[in-house]
Assembly symmetry: none
DNA sequence: GATGAATGAGGATTCATTCAT
DNA sequence: CATGAATGAATCCTCATTCAT
């Protein structure tokens, strides 16, 4: 009984891992069920026991990705807003680097066109990041850390497009730099300068 | 004489238009020669009279797009560096908006994976932008407008990833904002602040 | 269990037989997967379950053909070299006749141009024959049956080109004679005469 | 007028030359009208002004080949039959080498299957060679040079299959030897030995 | 005679998906 | 649950040939 279920879980796991591996190495366009099952060491038909469609496994892979970023940001109670945003950026880029260029490319590609790419790969990550950054800024305003005239929406979008832009440029430039290092430069050269005009001195 | 060649030009045009239309509506993944020629009203073989490979027509479509941006920047002789970079950003985002979200998405998608996507659609735009922005910064340094300790590479990449990030976020957010307006905010809230530490007062 | 695999074997067999039939009747140039599967009574895709490329099935057909010739030659311990070479020739021409003119033609054609014809159909038969005949001659020299001044290479090539020439002429002349009978004439009128100058009397 | 005709002749010539060149270099399978006309420097349609079908030009190319061999054999009045047959063989192999491996391969291939290959490339060469060699032998018998019990047909076929066999082996072995040299060895090691039993001493 | 634009049948190969065992 | 044989629609590309100019 439990054995049966456990076995099934393992089979499913093998398939997901195989798909993930291929996705990382070769990208979505070159992903096919044949290879997935061959690598997973199961029969082709087994794939369809667990996933009605090929895209479903991609969805599952991409779902978890990106979502558990930055939960640790909350824990930075004593840090100032610049540090917390910096931590978010660092977490973001660390995740980006960790997932690898192919997953990122795939994520971008899929999020650009939900119609022709894995349908399940939705914009949750995007919404999450927008909400997260806006939340951090609003909190800081409410907590008196930032001045009330801070244009929250504008800054949110500037910050987030910077993060997404670095990911995109990394993908375009084909690994020309290390994402992790760039989040540092982002914090160092950009973040504080942008926030500076809105910082309350007493908080400093 | 002229008629023959003119006809051919029109046929080619019809094919390009048909492909462009499909590209805009359905994206590259769903693009196929059959539909292109059907829409263009020519025989399938005719496509290959003008384009050796399917991807070549996509290249043709995307080429040009993005490439004639920002030549006017050079003409801004009297403007300071912030104004010139701002003009570049404005030109970039204006082009982005002008080409439309589908072409932009396609461009991003194709530039993400030259292996499986239109090979001809290369990174020229990317290289061009990188070189252009770096050039503007270097000139300003040489001209004494910016201090010599300006980290050219870092700033170039920050600026460019901001631009590309805005384009990407626009595509992701599905037209949630107008690119043109965002280049203004970019200039207003970010550009000057980042450059400020490196501005020579006398130039101001 | 057995049924599944057995069925598959039969399907594969059906495909091979269909291809062979077409090959015999129409030759390689007119061979296409569509017809093969139609005759075999399976779906087009099924062909590719068993053969990655069209040429692979042709290879399979031609392999084996020609390869198990002349193993019996080795067993002719007591026969003299002329008899053994004669036996080889006889085996060769018997095989030629047995396989039929179309397969022979196809084999020649394919072996003539590995680039555009079935790549897998290689020159094994050719190498095998060359090595076999040379081996027989060398053995006879080492065994003292033939004089040491025998020009092994030259004779090998003369003999082999005679054999292949008879096959070719048979194909060209469109069945004008029976290959089996010609190997007899080859032995009778040519083989002994050519070897004569090099025969050691004592062996006789 | 004459100019018109002369021009046309030149155009036709250019096409034939271009086709010949391609045939030599790439073989029949890779021959296509597009390349022929491109190399010839004429429009595609021009090809069809002179040749109703692609195969017709190949026929024209192959026709002349092989046919003007050995007309000089006739002139060897004083030579004995072995010398004359040797001269024929030499002429044959010289032609073979001169035409190149691709033409030879193509000729063999086409002669093997007139149905799928250039239809016009017929067996004339084959008939010509058979008749020629048989004629030489019969003449020698009638002239008393060879004994009347000479098995003309058998020897004719053995000789001719030897010649064709050398050509075939050359093609198969991919230029492993020089045809011209092999006709010498053929004469030296084989021809005289085969004829010896039938030679009338007085003629020598 | 010469052109070259247009054709469209034909052919190889891929691959997501089904289903009987 | 797991299998893997079978499917067939989809798609890219080739190229001999036609024909209006």
């Amino acid at each position: 009984m439990t054995t049966r279920k456990e076995r099934a879980r393992q089979t499913r796991e093998k398939i997901v891992r195989a798909a993930e591996e291929l996705l990382k190495v070769r990208g979505f366009a070159a992903l096919n069920v044949d290879d997935i099952t061959k690598i997973a060491g199961v029969a082709k038909g087994t794939f369809y026991v667990y996933f009605p469609h090929k895209t479903d496994v991609v969805e599952e892979i991409c779902r978890g990705y990106f979502q558990n970023v930055a939960l640790q940001v909350r824990s930075l109670r004593d840090a100032d807003i610049a540090q917390r945003l910096g931590a978010y950026a660092a977490g973001f880029m660390k995740a980006v680097q960790c997932y690898g260029i192919h997953i990122c490319r795939e994520w971008i590609r899929s999020v650009l066109d939900p119609a022709c790419a894995p349908e399940g790969v939705d914009r949750r990550k995007w919404r999450f990041d927008v909400d997260m950054l806006r939340g951090l800024l609003e909190e800081a305003v409410q907590g008196g850390e930032l001045k009330p005239d801070l244009p929250v929406d504008t800054l949110t979008h500037l910050l987030i497009s910077q993060l997404y832009g670095m990911m995109l440029c990394w993908c375009i430039s084909d690994n020309e730099f290390r994402p992790e290092e760039w989040s540092d430069r982002f914090s160092e050269f950009q973040l504080r300068l942008i926030l500076a005009p809105y910082m309350n001195d007493n908080k400093r």
